[in-house]
C-alpha cells in the first residue's frame, strides 16, 4: 500500500536553488508527526536539494503582478513549492 508525504517549502525567490525560509511536512505514512514550531532548520536548504533527495515537485507558485494600490504590501509567503514522495506502508 502506498501513502503520500507532502513537503511544502517556501523559497526566498522563485528560483528553486534559493534558500528555504519556511517549511511544512505532512506524512500520511504515519511514520513522522509534525506540528507548528517543531524545528529550527528546514529539512533541505533549497527546493532543488529536496528534488535531489527524491522529492517530486507537484506545484509551482504562480506569479501575479500586484493589484493597483497593493504594490508595496505583503501577505502570504509567495514562493511556495509543494513536493511529494510516495512510500510503501
Amino acid at each position: 500500500m502506498v501513502r503520500q508525504k507532502l513537503l511544502i517549502l517556501y523559497s526566498a525567490t522563485p528560483m528553486l536553488t534559493d534558500r528555504v525560509g519556511a517549511w511544512t511536512l505532512y506524512d500520511a505514512t504515519g511514520k513522522e508527526h509534525h506540528t507548528t514550531g517543531d524545528s529550527e532548520e528546514p529539512p533541505y536548504p533549497s527546493v532543488f536539494a529536496a528534488m535531489q533527495d527524491g522529492w517530486r515537485v507537484i506545484q509551482f507558485p504562480a506569479q501575479f503582478p500586484a493589484y493597483p494600490g497593493m504594490e508595496l504590501t505583503t501577505s502570504y509567503l509567495r514562493w511556495e513549492f509543494v513536493l511529494e514522495k510516495l512510500e510503501e506502508v
Binding site: 511544502i8 517556501y10 523559497s11 526566498a12 525567490t13 534559493d18 534558500r19 528555504v20 525560509g21 519556511a22 517549511w23 511544512t24 511536512l25 508527526h33 509534525h34 506540528t35 507548528t36 514550531g37 517543531d38 524545528s39 529550527e40 532548520e41 528546514p42 508595496l72 504590501t73 505583503t74 501577505s75 502570504y76 509567503l77 509567495r78 514562493w79
Partner: protein
C-alpha cells in the same frame, strides 16, 4: 479609578519603538514581582477574575480594581509606561483570555493572527503575561518576528509549520511581551506534567498614536538600521517590509517626510518641474 501618572523613566524609547515596528513585539523579562505572579495564579485557581470577556470598549483603567494579581500586573509603572508609549492615555479594554495548554499536549496550535485583514496604520496592542516559569518543554507562545504588517485573515496562515527565526517565549515567571495586533503566533505543545497558563489582554487606543513615548533619542542613527532589519524567513519580500515600516514610522512620528536608506523617497519622486527644450 484612574491609572497613576506615568513617569518619563517608564516610557519606551525611540529605539525600543523602532524595534517594535520591525519585530512586531517587545519582551520584558521578569518585570512582574513574584507576589503579583503568585496572586495571579491564585486568581485563576480561585476563579477570582472572570474567564469570560468583560464589556469590550470600556475604559481599561477601571478594570479589576481590587485585583492584586492580573490587575496589579497591568498597573505596574513599567507596564503602564509601555501602554502609554504605544496607545496613549485613556486606552480601552478590548478583551482578555486566560490561555491554558494542558499537560502532555503534543499538538502545536495553528499559526494565526488575532485579527481580520486590518490595513489601518493605527494599531491595538496585546499584552502576553507569563505568571510562571515557561521553559521550552512547556511550550511558550511562538511569535514570528516581523509578521505583523502582513495582510492576512486570522488562520489563513495555517498551512505553515516552521519559519527561520521563529521565536518561542521561553521565559521566567513575571515576563510580559507586548505585541502589535497583527503578529503571527501560536501556542506551543506542553511536554510537562503541569498546566501552562498565559494571560492575554488586548488594548485599543483612543488617541492619535504619535510621539507618545520618550522621544529624547528620536534622531538616533540606530533607528534607520533597526527599521531595515531582515528577518530570516522573508525572502525577497524584505524590501516591501521596509517600505511598510517606514510608512508606519512616519505615522508614529507625525513626519510625512521620514525616510531611511532613501527607500520611499525614490519611489515617491514624481517630478513636475518643466524645463525649456534645448534650442
Amino acid at each position: 479609578m484612574s491609572f497613576p501618572m506615568v513617569e518619563k523613566k517608564d516610557l519606551l524609547t525611540s529605539v525600543q519603538m523602532a524595534n517594535f515596528i520591525s519585530d512586531g513585539f517587545l519582551r520584558f523579562d521578569e518585570i512582574v514581582p513574584d507576589e503579583i505572579n503568585q496572586a495571579s495564579m491564585r486568581e485563576i485557581d480561585e476563579k477570582r477574575v472572570p474567564s469570560h470577556y468583560e464589556r469590550s470598549g470600556r475604559e481599561l483603567s477601571g478594570l479589576w480594581p481590587e485585583s492584586d494579581g492580573f490587575g496589579a500586573m497591568f498597573r505596574l509603572p513599567q507596564v503602564q509606561g509601555l501602554i502609554r508609549s504605544l496607545v496613549g492615555t485613556e486606552p480601552l479594554y478590548d478583551h482578555h483570555a486566560f490561555h491554558k495548554v494542558g499537560p502532555r499536549h503534543v499538538e502545536g496550535q495553528i499559526w494565526h493572527a488575532d485579527n481580520i485583514i486590518d490595513p489601518r496604520l493605527a494599531f491595538d496592542i496585546q499584552l502576553f503575561y507569563y505568571p510562571h516559569d515557561t521553559p521550552r518543554e512547556m511550550g511558550g507562545t511562538m511569535f514570528l518576528p516581523g509578521s505583523h504588517l502582513r495582510r492576512i485573515h486570522e488562520t489563513d496562515i495555517g498551512r505553515y509549520q516552521n519559519f527561520r527565526g521563529q521565536m518561542p517565549m521561553v521565559c521566567k515567571a513575571g515576563t510580559v511581551a507586548v505585541a502589535h495586533h497583527g503578529i503571527w503566533h501560536c501556542a506551543q505543545p506542553n511536554a510537562t506534567d503541569s498546566m501552562r497558563y498565559m494571560f492575554k489582554l488586548r488594548i485599543n487606543p483612543t488617541v492619535r498614536q504619535a510621539l507618545l513615548w520618550n522621544t529624547d533619542d528620536l534622531d538616533s542613527p540606530e533607528i534607520g538600521n533597526i527599521l531595515f532589519r531582515n528577518h530570516g524567513w522573508y525572502g525577497n519580500d524584505d524590501r516591501l517590509e521596509y517600505a511598510q515600516r517606514i510608512k508606519l514610522w512616519r505615522f508614529l512620528t507625525d513626519n510625512d517626510h521620514y525616510d531611511t536608506h532613501y527607500w520611499l523617497t525614490r519611489v515617491e519622486n514624481n517630478p513636475e518641474r518643466r524645463i525649456a527644450a534645448v534650442a
